[in-house]
Amino acid sequence: MLDFDKLDKLIHEKGRLSIMTLLASRAEWPFQELKAQLNMSDGNLITHLRTLHQAGYVSFTKEMLDRPQTRYALTTKGRQAFQVYLKLLEEIIKTSRS
């Protein structure tokens, strides 16, 4: 029997799930590109990224190009949590089919 409580509520939220998915698809993402891809407001995106950072799922680096730029990436803990989340979703589908 599946324990649905195992589903990471932090990742399951729609906005944060999109962020985690994009971060899982590349090594790192500049803030502006994430914002453009997700069509989120600055405030909304920053709040979600801060939540994920506090959970240890996301790291960031700041650099100075022509203007300050922040790049975000998944940490090892974040990548593992995302994989566990995906596996659990697959198991839910399998269980319902069997």
């Binding site: 799930l17 999109s18 994009l22 698809s25 090594a27 022509d66 589908i93 089919r97």
Partner: protein
């Protein structure tokens, strides 16, 4: 509680977001500038030889094919180096996707080149097929590549129309050389410079496979 339907929808959303996140730049900015400068030089030389009535159609085609092969090889070397710096394979999933889209229009262009149509028609076809090849990657290409593809298609159409209007009064080699220099030359230089500036300010990535 999460239902199977909800889980399935969530997985589909994740898959589509990941596909959208794949970005591949098939034309490196530095190579575009090199190719653009060569095209402007060759176009200018073609215009001069056409004025002196000393060029031939075969020379025209051969010289542009040599430039095309040279720039393609340089582009492959640059993409290989960029992939190596990112510790990623040269033939990445992004490159495979891009090649799947690019090869058919380019092969069509090669097939029509072998038939050796009049120079202005050939130039129009090269612009159109190159533009279509770039646009075939638009689902996963950065916006600058999409703009380059659209510009080639629009200029290709305009070149064809212009030739149909002024062909009785214009030397085909003069027209073809000028069109090649202005399209493949100027457009690539503009693309290369704007891309380098966008990468520098973080608005675009140079190449992500």
């Amino acid at each position: 509680m999460v239902t199977a339907n909800e889980a399935e929808t969530t997985l589909k959303t994740i898959r589509s977001l990941m596909e959208r996140a794949t970005i591949y730049r098939a034309v490196s900015a530095n190579t575009a500038i090199l190719g653009g400068v060569l095209a402007i030089a060759l176009g200018g030389w073609g215009v001069l030889t056409a004025c002196a009535q000393s060029g031939s159609e075969l020379n025209f085609v051969a010289s542009w094919i040599i430039v095309c092969i040279f720039v393609s090889v340089v582009n492959a070397v640059v993409l290989h180096k960029q992939a190596w710096l990112r510790n990623e394979p040269f033939i990445s999933p992004g490159m495979k996707l891009a090649l799947r889209g690019i090869i058919p229009p380019l092969l069509a262009g090669v097939a029509l080149t072998v038939m050796l149509p009049p120079i202005p028609v050939l130039v129009t076809l090269w612009m159109l097929f190159y533009g279509l090849a770039l646009l075939s990657t638009q689902e996963f290409a950065p916006s600058s590549i999409q703009w380059l593809g659209r510009a080639f298609v629009v200029i290709g159409i305009l070149t064809g129309l212009l030739w149909s209007l002024c062909h009785p009064y214009t030397n085909p080699q003069f027209f073809g050389s000028a069109a090649m220099g202005l399209s493949f030359g100027v457009l690539h230089v503009i693309y290369g410079i704007t891309t380098l500036r966008a990468v520098k300010t973080g608005r675009e990535t140079e190449a992500v496979a």
